[in-house]
């Protein structure tokens, strides 16, 4: 399967995009008010943090690893940001860098452990996940509401796109991250080394690539993205809370994989992951528009949509494979 999707590498991406469009069309036909620019834009507004997470995760997964800590890091970041702002009353200009360093440091640590003691990413980041969440509990089990001009501004500001449509600052941040990541993955040594690493770590090593540096950098970057996402999430929620983003690591991984990245590593695109996020987002939106689903039907519906989506994607890929 790996070989196949490698040979037709752009295919999953294209499949994903077209399927997204199809879904959007279905939604528009089925529900009133679905076919509107704002509904589309809200996909970004409501998932800005997920997009940022997905970007970081894409690098990790392409390199053949995985990072389960991201969800908890969001919680921790939000907690740190909140407590520093509200309890310590620090200015944003101090809070932001500190918050960003939180995930970055955790990521760095994970990368170090994974490489130098060659531990399995899954487990190390699982520990990271426990740790980050645990630390946020230690800060406080209560949720901390944030009311500071800066955060209110970041949260409240709407960037109008005409026709009453708008996006938030977070969306802009997310898009910048995406562009940056696309560039890195396609036009820098680091970016390419990530792919090589995912293809075969042993080969990468024998080809004399800086495996250690690359690997550690990957997890550090993912950690950074998690922190950034954490901030964006904090803008979104205007609060710090130890239970924030529970289980979001899975949503992220799902988005990335749906976006056509191979979990076995070596193949994938940042852009794909973005589409992946939009897909999960649109599934959520359709559920809400449906507006009658009870808790369990919601779960089932998500599963079913996910299923149809994934299978369609596979089918398209297989069909278009020349015999």
């Amino acid at each position: 399967m790996k070989k196949l999707s490698l040979d037709y590498k752009q295919l999953p991406l294209i499949a994903t995009m077209s399927l997204f469009i199809v879904m959007f069309a279905i939604g528009s036909m089925r529900y009133t008010g679905f076919l509107s620019t704002q509904v589309f834009l809200n996909l970004f507004v409501d998932n800005a943090f997920l997009i940022i997470l997905a970007v970081g995760m894409t690098f990790v997964i392409i390199s053949g690893g995985i990072d389960l800590s991201v969800g908890s890091v969001i919680a921790l970041t939000s907690m740190v940001a909140a407590s520093l702002t509200m309890n310590a009353g620090l200015s944003p200009w101090i809070v932001i860098p500190i918050s960003l360093s939180v995930g970055t440091i955790i990521g760095l640590g994970q990368g170090y452990l994974i490489h130098y003691y060659n531990l399995q990413p899954f487990i190390v980041t699982l520990a990271g996940m426990f740790l980050a969440r645990g630390l946020s509990y230690l800060i406080s089990v209560e949720s901390i509401a944030i009311s500071s001009p800066f955060f209110d501004y970041m949260a409240g500001t709407r960037i109008p796109l005409g026709g009453g449509n708008f996006i938030s600052i977070s969306v802009v941040i997310a898009l910048i991250v995406v562009l940056f990541a696309v560039y890195v993955s396609l036009f820098t040594k680091f970016g390419r080394n990530v792919y090589a690493l995912g293809g075969s770590e042993q080969s990468a090593l024998l080809m004399g690539l800086p495996v250690a540096r690359t690997k550690i950098l990957i997890y550090t970057f993912s950690g950074f993205c998690a922190s950034l996402a954490g901030l964006v999430f904090t803008f979104y929620m205007l609060s710090g809370y130890a239970l924030h983003a529970n289980g979001m690591e899975l949503d992220t991984i799902a988005a990335v994989v749906i976006g056509g990245t191979l979990l076995t590593g070596g193949a994938g695109y940042v852009a794909g992951s973005v589409v992946g996020v939009l897909i999960t987002g649109i599934i959520q939106t359709m559920i809400v528009f449906e507006g009658t689903l009870s808790a369990w039907w919601t779960k089932i519906a998500i599963g079913v949509l996910l299923f149809f989506f994934i299978v369609l994607q596979r089918v398209i890929v297989l069909r278009t494979k020349p015999k």
């Binding site: 399967m1 196949l4 452990l113 130098y116 003691y117 060659n118 531990l119 399995q120 899954f122 487990i123 190390v124 699982l126 520990a127 990271g128 996940m129 426990f130 740790l131 969440r133 645990g134 630390l135 509990y137 230690l138 089990v141 899975l250 991984i253 799902a254 994989v257 749906i258 191979l262 979990l263 076995t264 009870s294 808790a295 369990w296 039907w297 919601t298 779960k299 089932i300 519906a301 998500i302 599963g303 079913v304 996910l306 299923f307 994934i310 299978v311 596979r314 297989l318």
Partner: protein, 347 residues
């Protein structure tokens, strides 16, 4: 002798387990005591086995899945599903006859194996990546479970049902016997038939296995079904133990603990060699850790941190690189590779 023992995959997990137990001893002198209370063996060790039963079961199934380079995120939901189905079947069954019990068990196990087959189908036939394929069931399965219980907590008033997870046999919790049975089954199938060999080869190099005339698709199918089977039994034990089924919370996050157990046990997520005994010990480590946390009065908000630290220590101790750095024991960093050929026999 010791040297070969050190080489065994099981050595470090066992050491860790012992350490955790000793820590308990430190807090509670009578930790290792096992007394007979009204005809039953009682004591922390028994409890750990008893409580750990579901996790051990799930992990056994997970081990085989992981050995094929796969992963099964669905188990948690399958646990809930199995409990829900069984509980609703016996919910208002009349005492006396055992028929409802067996009906419930059969039905639950069947449905869950179907669920497993579903995963296997997606992975082996459609070629969906395991993590996504099983993610579907992880989400939807819990939904179905809640659908079955209508989001209520279905309480069971039918006593025989509580025997599965609460009953005692020969003074030991019945669940322990179930684990042993399943474990023996797994050991037999993987070590006394060629199944183990096939699983390992498919996990290690699928293409080469195909060219050697192994039907990897069916192998995949089977491991996922087996994983479903294990989850089903685990679910039965869990729900029977509290005489009720909770579609929403039963088996929540079990998949992570199971994977953790497998990896602690020495099986690599990259597939290939697997160590069932290691997995069992891994599961026991996790369970005794939880019990420890509860019994030595750690404030709940620090649970996570403690768990994180322990997990890290466990992994580090198992990493030859780390050991050589700390104890300076092993020489070449590649040398470790040949540890692998030991331990197989042990597991």
């Amino acid at each position: 002798m010791l040297k070969s023992l050190m080489k065994s995959k099981l050595f470090w997990p066992i050491v860790i387990l012992v350490i955790i137990l000793l820590i308990n001893l430190f807090f509670d002198r009578g930790f290792f005591q096992i007394e007979v209370r009204n005809g039953r063996l009682a004591g922390s060790l028994v409890d750990i086995l008893n409580r750990g039963a579901p996790l051990m079961l799930i992990s056994i199934g997970m081990t085989l899945v992981i050995a094929t380079k796969g992963i099964d995120l669905g188990v948690g939901s399958v646990i809930a599903l199995s409990g829900a189905i069984a509980a609703t079947t016996v919910a208002d069954a009349s005492e006396g006859s055992l028929a409802p019990l067996f009906a419930a068990i059969a039905l639950a196990i069947f449905v869950c194996m179907v669920a497993g087959a579903w995963n296997g189908f997606l992975v082996s036939r459609i070629g969906v990546q395991p993590i996504v394929a099983t993610l579907i069931l992880m989400v939807a399965g819990r939904g179905v479970a809640q659908l079955v219980t209508q989001g209520q907590i279905t309480t069971v008033y039918y006593d025989p049902y509580t025997f599965i997870g609460g009953g005692y046999l020969l003074g030991l919790p019945f669940s322990i016997f179930i684990v042993v049975a399943v474990l023996l089954l797994a050991l037999f199938v993987t070590r006394k038939t060629a199944m183990g060999l096939f699983i390992e080869s498919v996990g290690s190099n699928p293409e080469a296995s195909r060219l050697s005339g192994i039907n990897s698709k069916n192998i995949l199918m089977m491991v996922y079904i087996f994983s479903g089977f294990c989850a089903a039994i685990g679910g039965l034990i869990l729900s029977s133990n509290v005489a009720s089924a909770d579609g929403n919370n039963a088996g929540l996050w079990y998949e992570l603990d199971a994977i953790l157990a497998v990896v602690i046990g020495g099986t690599s997520l990259m597939g290939g060699r697997f160590y069932l005994m290691g997995t069992i010990i891994g599961a026991l480590i996790i369970q005794s850790l939880t019990t420890t946390i509860y019994s030595i009065g750690i404030p709940p908000e620090t649970n996570m941190v403690v768990k994180a630290i322990v997990v890290l220590i466990v992994c580090l101790l198992q990493s030859p690189e780390f050991r050589s750095k700390v104890f300076g024991s092993f020489k070449a960093k590649k040398a470790v590779e040949s540890e692998d050929d030991k331990g197989v026999t042990l597991s």
